[in-house]
Amino acid sequence: MSGNSSYNPTGAVEKWFDERLPIIRFSKEHLMDFPTPKNINYWWTFGAVLAFILVVQIITGIVLAMHYVPNSELAFDSVEAIRRDVNYGRIIQATHAVGASMFFAAVYIHIFRGLYYGSYKAPREILWILGVLIFVLMMATAFMGYVLPWGQMSFWAATVITNIFAAIPIIGDPILALLRGGFAVDNATLNRFFSLHYLLPFILAAVVGLHIWALHVPGNNNPVGVEVKSSHDTLPFHPYFTMKDLFVIVVFLIPFSWFVFFAPDILGHPDNYIPADPLLTPPHIVPEWYFLPFYAILRAIDFDMLFISSKLGGVIFFGGSIIVLFFVPWLDGSKVRSGNFRPLFRPFYWLFVLNFLMLTYLGAQVAEGIYVLLSKVGTAYYFAYFLIILPIVSRIETPAPLPASISESVLGKAEASGEKG
C-alpha cells in the first residue's frame, strides 16, 4: 500500500540519499507506518514469530556448519563433538534442532489461522500460494537437516523419503539415482543434502520476502474478514504491532528455551544416537513429529487402486495432501472470509483440526490393526474436507450478517458511525 508515506527527509544528506536509494522511505512505509487492521488477534502474531525463528535457524545453522563435517564416516562424531567440545556448542546445536520443531509448531498455527479466517481468499491467493511454497521448502530443508547427524533415523529417513520418488513411473529410478548419487543412500547423498540444506534457507528467505510483499499489497486480513475501509480501521504497524509481536516472541521463547536447556532431545528419537547402519533398519521408523500427519497419509494407502499400485497410490496421496493446499482459494467459494460468520463451516473446520491431530498421533503408531483403519478414515476426511466439504458448504451455507466495518465490529454500530460523523 503506497501513498501512506509520512517520510519527509530532513536535511540535505537525507534528501540526497532518498532520491538515489529510497530505502529509508521504504522501511518507514512497510515496517513502521504500514496500516494494520486494529482488530487482529494473537493468532496474527505468528508471522512475526516465524520470521524470528527463520533468523535464529540461519544464524545457528551457519555457526554449526563451521564445526560439522559432511562425511559419512565423520558426520555422527562431528555432531557429538559440537555437543561436547565446541564452546556453547551444546546450546547452539540444541537451539537449531529444537528450532526446527518450533518453526513447524508456529507454521501450523499460522496455516490453521489462515484456514479459519479465510486469509487465502481474494485478493490474497498469491499470498497463500507463496505460503504453501514456503511450507514445502521448510519441509525439504528440515528433512535434509535431519539427515545430517547421520544416525539411524537420519539414514533411514533419507532412504524412505528418497524412495518416494522411485514410485514415479518410468523416470522414478533415474531420479532416485540422481538424488542419492549411488545405488543406495551413502556419502554422496549426505554431501549433497548438506549443500542443499545450506542453500534452501536462503531461497526460503527470498520467498518469505515475496510473501510479505504479497501481504503488503492488499494488507492484512483480520478476524472479521471485512476489508479495511478507512483509516479508522487501522493502526500503524509500529509501535502497536511491533510491540505485540515482540511480546509474543518473548512468550514463545519460554517453551523454546525449556526444550533447549532442559530437554533438547525429547522431540527426537533415541535411535538417532546410533550411528547409521545401512544393513539394519530400526524396528520402528518414525519421522519427526511435524511430518507425522503426512506420513500417516502415506502409510494409509496399502491397497491397489485400478492400475495404481499401493506404493504409487501412497505417494500420490502424500503429495496430493500438500498440493491440494495450493487450490484452497478456489475450492472454498464462500465470499465470507472469517469462520466466525460461517455457522456451517465451523464444525467441519474443527473436525478437520481434530482429524489432523489424530493423523499426527497415528503417524507415530505401528502400521497394524486399528491404526491402519483410522489412518484411512483420517486420510479420507483430510481430502474430503478440501475437495467435497469446502466447495459444497460454501455454496449452501447462509453466513451470519457481517459488520459494516472493522471499527463497527470493535466499537459497536453507534460509536463507529459517531466516529465517522
Binding site: 533411514w156 532412504t159 524412505v160 523419503i161 528418497t162 524412495n163 518416494i164 522411485a166 539415482a177 540422481l178 538424488l179 542419492r180 548419487g181 549411488g182 545405488f183 543406495a184 551413502d186 554422496a188 549433497r192 545401512p278 544393513l279 539394519l280 533398519t281 530400526p282 524396528p283 520402528h284 521408523i285 502409510r299 494407502i301 496399502d302 491397489d304 499400485s309 499401493s310 506404493k311 504409487l312 501412497g314 505401528v366 502400521a367 497394524e368 491402519v372
Partner: protein
Amino acid sequence: MASEAATETTRRDFLYVATGAVGAVGVGAAVWPLIDQMNPDASVRALASIEFDLAPVGVGESFTITWRGQPIFVRHRTEAEIAEARAVPMEDLKDPETDLERVVEGKEQWLIMIGICTHLGCVPLGQKPSDAKGEYNGWFCPCHGSHYDIAGRIRKGPAPKNLVLPPITFLSDTIVKVG
C-alpha cells in the same frame, strides 16, 4: 514498408532464430554437467560383482552380505519351507510368481534376494532367528508393515512387488557370483 518487412522472412529473422537456437544448446550443454554430477560417480559404478561361498550355511540358516551398498539376503531353506512356498496358490499373491521362478533350478534350497523392501526401501526383518518374520513366516518390514513369505513374495502390506532378485550365477556347487 515496415509492415511488409514484418511478414516476409528475412536473413535477419534467420539469424535471430539461429542465434537463439545456438544459445539454447549452449545453455543446455553448460547445465547438463551440473545435473549429471549428481548421478553415481565412477567409483560407485566401478563396484565389481561379488562372489561368496555358501558351504558354511547350514539348513534353515540365513546370512546377509553387502552388494552395491545394499543388503543381500541369503537363506538356506528347509524342505518344509520349500514345500510351503510351493503350496501357495497363485491367486493369493499380489505379485504372482511361482517359487521356482525365484530360485535357480536344482538349487531350490538357496533363496538369494536383495533385502530391501519394495515399498520404501527399508531392510525387512527375518534374517536372525529372533526377528519378527511376519504373518507368512518369511520377512517382515517394520517400517510400514509389509509381510513377505518364505519365497520373498509380498503377501500383505503396502509393498507392491516381491523382494527383488539380484543377477546371480552359480560358479560351482557352492560359489555364487552376484552382479
